[in-house]
């Protein structure tokens, strides 16, 4: 058998291999034959010395299964057992149905999340209002002192101070509430992130 005939037959036997692996095998045996010929053998002898094409091919093909030989076969990407491309196509076709649902759900969740912030904002405004009102009342008490008399001015001053104190006191729950809510938000995002990571892994 000539070298060309040998390589052609080997190529046919290795048809099931990826083109790169096949090419590599052919080059290897091509080189072997060339080296044998260089040693003084005729081409026929060199080819004959390699053994039968069937056996060589069988050896190459069976070695493919050894550990660390070939990268694991590429798994087709799936989404819950259905091919990824089909999942994407179905999702795109169902867009008019799920998009409004998802959007309204997202908006609802966002609104629910906004509620505590609104309450905090209202409390904050109340607190600031009370504190500022208290300060204004205290100033007013001195302004109206000549007209209203000492007792009335004293009463106004007392009420104003109480108002101011109440406002300052109210600031504490507002601050704690804000901190707690911000921490809660951060925690939620972290949780969301780790769940996604787990799903990926």
């Amino acid at each position: 058998m000539t070298k060309t005939a040998f390589l052609t037959e080997l190529e046919r036997e290795l048809a099931s291999l990826p083109a790169m692996d096949r090419e590599r095998s052919l080059r290897y045996f091509d080189e072997m034959i060339a080296d044998r010929v260089e040693e003084g053998l005729t081409e026929e002898e060199a080819v004959a010395g390699l053994g039968s094409v069937n056996e060589i091919a069988a050896e190459i093909l069976s070695e493919g299964g050894g550990e660390g030989d070939t990268p694991p076969p590429k798994e087709e990407k799936t989404f819950h057992g259905c091919p990824l491309w089909l999942a994407i196509l179905l999702a795109a076709l169902a867009l008019p149905v799920w998009l409004p649902v998802v959007l309204s759900l997202a908006v609802t969740v966002f609104c629910l999340y906004l509620i505590p912030w609104c309450i905090l904002l209202a409390l904050f405004c109340t607190a600031v209002g009370c504190a500022l009102g208290g300060v204004a009342g205290a100033v007013l008490a001195f302004v109206v002192l000549p007209v209203s008399g000492v007792y009335n001015a004293m009463m106004l001053l007392g009420m104003s101070l109480f108002c101011c104190g109440f406002g300052i006191l109210l600031m504490f729950p507002v601050i704690y509430g804000t901190v707690w809510l911000a921490k809660g938000t951060a925690w939620c995002f972290r949780k969301l992130g780790s769940v996604r990571k787990e799903k990926k892994a």
């Binding site: 045996f29 080189e31 390699l50």
Partner: protein, 104 residues
């Protein structure tokens, strides 16, 4: 001989054969043939496996107007030989037990 065992041994033999100087397929077969039965077609998957495991690197060099593929053993390949020898000491201890008569 057990196929797995022989395959493992041949891997080391090829690395050992390349330890002193870089070589090419035909020369490896010729050098190893002095010590064991090995054919070109047996060597092919071994070289491929060793290269994939990064125990070898390959390069092409021109020879008589054609390209010949040369193989060079890597540091990991040399370590593989040492590891094998260390493992083999253990194997010898076990073999000594198997051959020994008392069974205790």
């Amino acid at each position: 001989m057990d196929v797995q065992l022989k395959r493992g041994l041949l891997d080391i033999c090829v690395l050992k054969c390349l330890a002193d100087e870089d070589s090419y397929g035909y020369k490896i077969v010729r050098d190893l043939s002095a010590h064991m039965k090995i054919s070109e077609s047996t060597l092919y998957p071994i070289l491929k496996r060793l290269e994939q495991n990064e125990f070898l690197t390959v390069y092409m060099m021109e020879h008589n107007g054609r390209l010949r593929k040369y193989y060079r053993v890597t540091a990991a390949g040399r370590k593989r030989i040492d590891d094998f020898l260390a493992e083999w000491d253990e194997v010898e201890t076990i073999v000594a037990y198997i051959k020994g008569g008392s069974g205790k």
